[in-house]
Amino acid sequence: MGIKSLDDLKKIREDSLKKVNLRETGKDGEDITELMVGMATCGIAAGARVTLAALLDEISKNNIENIRVVQVGCLGYCHSEPIVQINQSGKEPILYGNVDDKKARDIINKHVLKNELLDDSIIINTFQKA
């Protein structure tokens, strides 16, 4: 495909930016949601791999940008694995327990997209109180 104007270039840039924006790190004022999935041995044994895959699948289905999925080590709530923690700028982190495939999709569709908390699954609402 040829580029014949600045608009053509802009289109390619917007498409490409989606593929590389996770390399931009630590910029102030960036509205980025971070999903941390507990992937220690206990998490994996409890099915965190399925959870992680479901999160990614739902994100790509809904074409959500400014979101990062990060695998982390043990979060300390082994009784409620798989654990997903959501960090959003300016808000307290929210921790969900027993997140299976369905709950993972709910997290994306409700919490991330509509800002509705999944009250039944929250195990503790701030990290500091743990």
């Binding site: 014949k4 104007s5 270039l9 840039r13 593929k19 590389v20 996770l22 630590g26 990614l56 790509s60």
Partner: protein, 597 residues
């Protein structure tokens, strides 16, 4: 599932490729497939991170974790621990020598803290073989802006205003160079990118071409538009195969998008680029010699004037700019000359890339604002001298520059200040030397290089550098006389004044500057037949201190030429006529009884 959630960036610069980064990439890919993560994690081969001394480098996004000295054997652990379980592999993190602690993120490293990356902005950030990634980071936007919104006059005015000067070493204002070519009469004009990087130890241009080839191509098209040229050539030495490969890939991709070729951005402006391979002669970095070589003639300089801006390639007005100069163009167009002007010193704007090499802890590629001091570069970014030794001197400007001693370490770097202390900016090679370096030998090393690289056209350079090299060899062999020192000095000044081109005119600089700052070392070599660094084999005599020797025979057993005599529990003696000054006895002795010259 096509959401990629993490990028593993692996350095694909020549330095890291030499330490098996390509094997590492295949190992990571196959480990990801084994773990079933290959659809969500991508492995990207990128350009030079600059931290070459610790390569191969791996950086993981978005975690911002920076691993050093990663081997293909580490791939399994990285995937199993970091990717699958989210645990940082601590043993692969970089340890700051002074802090004694491991650093997880790249921004914390002293090596990166004082850097400001303009020319290297995309190196380590993008996959150089993917034009879309370059475009994602504002690539080709400057070209679009230039072709659709600016006149050629606007372009060279903007570059002139920015204060950008040639990064190849000369420091000629780039905007003015463009204006001169633009105003030369005629419709057939050319633009040439000088990628004939030849200083020993310098690899700035190679890293830019390998890590971000599009930044140079885009700037060449902009330069063509500003000067009225429709054809560009990249003159690159054949010994840079990786840079050539990436350039070729980049040119094909840019051509597919119509970003080079006919009617670029629908503006009616045509521009094409070809690659011209050079055989790697140092003299071809000089622009007139370079132009002759591009023409297919012998790479010999001719006198200036006429300058290439009047009569260059095929006798037509030609602009020759260095790779790093080009790499600065697009950010200036995008951010404006005022932005660029605010970086740097009064006379030298922007940043400069340096290749730090030699006896320094962090060997690598750094980009700092003009006005940064040598001390900051060597001791903060470079983390000081290896093995806790002392600093003696630093050579900037390669074989054309001179040594700078500790007295001048706080000089803010710019074109003028380096000239004032007897060296020069050069293209950016920076060789750090510790207190065990013989300065006469260093001068000899550079003269051996220049006499070898002299094209032979003018007598003063052809014969003069050869004679200087012979005198220096004589001195380091312990056969020098006081008369030799006088001849050396006179010869150096004569060559400086009479040589035809920059190579010859600057070739005596290493001699003049070492004779100026380290005159006592020259005298020691000539009068006392003594080399304090122990580098000049003919002048370094090892001996044994009788009081300390306990007669353990360790030295005698280590000596490869069997020149150490002595019985068990008796003092040993070195036969200095047979000694080859290898230092094996010094290393073998546990009682500090061997005196190193």
């Amino acid at each position: 599932m096509d959401k990629i959630r993490s990028h593993i960036m692996v350095c694909g610069g020549t330095g890291c490729v030499a330490s098996h980064s390509e094997d590492l990439i295949s190992a990571l890919k196959s480990e990801l497939i084994t773990a079933g993560y290959d659809q969500e994690i991508s492995v990207i081969k990128t350009g030079c991170f600059g931290f070459c001394g610790q390569g191969p480098i791996v950086k993981i996004h978005p975690d911002n974790v920076f691993y050093v000295q990663v081997t293909p054997n580490d791939a399994e652990e990285i995937v199993k621990e970091h990717i699958v379980k989210g645990r940082t592999v601590h043993r692969l993190l970089f340890e700051e020598p002074e802090l004694k602690g491991k650093l997880e993120t790249h921004d914390d490293m002293a090596f990166y803290k004082k850097q400001y990356r303009i020319a290297l902005r995309n190196c380590g950030m993008i996959n150089p073989e993917n034009i879309d990634e370059y475009i994602a980071f504002r690539g080709y936007e400057a070209l679009g802006k230039v072709l659709t919104e600016m006149t050629p006059e606007d372009v060279f005015y903007e570059i002139k205003e920015s204060g950008l000067r040639g990064r190849g070493g000369g420091g000629f204002p780039t905007g003015l160079k463009w204006e001169l070519t633009s105003k030369s009469p005629g419709t057939e004009k050319y633009i040439i990118c000088n990628a004939d990087e030849g200083d020993p130890g310098a690899f700035m241009d190679r890293s830019i071409l390998e890590g971000d080839p599009h930044s140079v191509l885009e700037a060449m098209v902009i330069g063509g538009y500003a000067t009225g040229a429709h054809q560009g050539s990249i003159y690159i030495r054949a010994e840079y195969p990786l840079a050539i490969k990436r350039l070729t890939v980049a040119m094909d991709q840019a051509r597919d998008y119509g970003l080079i070729g006919k009617d670029i951005f629908g503006s009616g402006f045509d521009f094409d680029i070809i690659i011209k391979l050079g055989a790697g002669a140092f003299v071809c970095g000089e622009e007139t010699a370079l132009i002759h070589s591009v023409e297919g003639l012998r790479g010999e300089p001719t006198k200036k004037p006429p300058f290439p801006s009047e009569s260059g390639y095929k006798g037509k007005p030609t602009t020759v700019n260095n790779v790093e100069t080009f790499a600065n163009i697009c950010p200036i167009i995008l951010n404006g000359s005022q932005w660029f002007k605010n970086i740097g010193t009064e006379t030298s704007k922007g940043t400069k890339v340096f290749a730090i090499a030699g006896n320094v802890n962090n060997v690598g590629l750094v980009e700092v604002p003009m006005g940064t001091t040598l001390r900051e570069i060597i001791f903060d970014i470079g983390a000081g001298i290896q093995d806790g030794k002392g600093f003696k001197a630093v050579q900037t400007g390669g074989p054309s520059g001179g040594v700078i001693t500790s007295v001048d370490l706080d000089t803010p770097i710019d074109y003028e200040s380096l000239k004032n202390i007897g060296s020069m900016m050069g293209s950016g090679g920076m060789i750090v030397m510790n207190d065990k370096t013989c300065m006469v030998n260093i001068a000899k090393f550079y003269l051996e290089f220049t006499q070898d690289e002299s094209c032979g056209k003018c007598t003063s350079c052809r014969i003069g550098t050869k004679r200087m090299f012979e005198i220096l060899t004589k001195i380091t062999n312990g056969e020098g006389t006081m008369e030799d020192l006088e001849h050396l000095d006179a010869l150096a000044r004569m060559i400086k004044d009479t040589a035809l081109c920059g190579l010859g005119q600057t070739a005596p600089n290493p001699v003049l500057s070492t004779m100026n700052y380290f005159h006592d070392e020259y005298l020691e070599h000539v009068k006392n037949k003594y080399c304090r660094a122990g580098t000049c084999k003919a002048l370094s005599k090892y001996s044994i201190i009788a009081d300390k020797c306990i007669g353990c025979t360790a030295c005698a057993r280590a000596c490869p030429v069997k020149c150490i005599d002595g019985k068990v529990k008796e003092v040993h003696v070195i036969d200095q006529s047979k000694c080859i000054s290898c230092g094996a006895c010094f290393d073998a002795c546990k009682f500090d009884a061997v005196l190193k010259p």
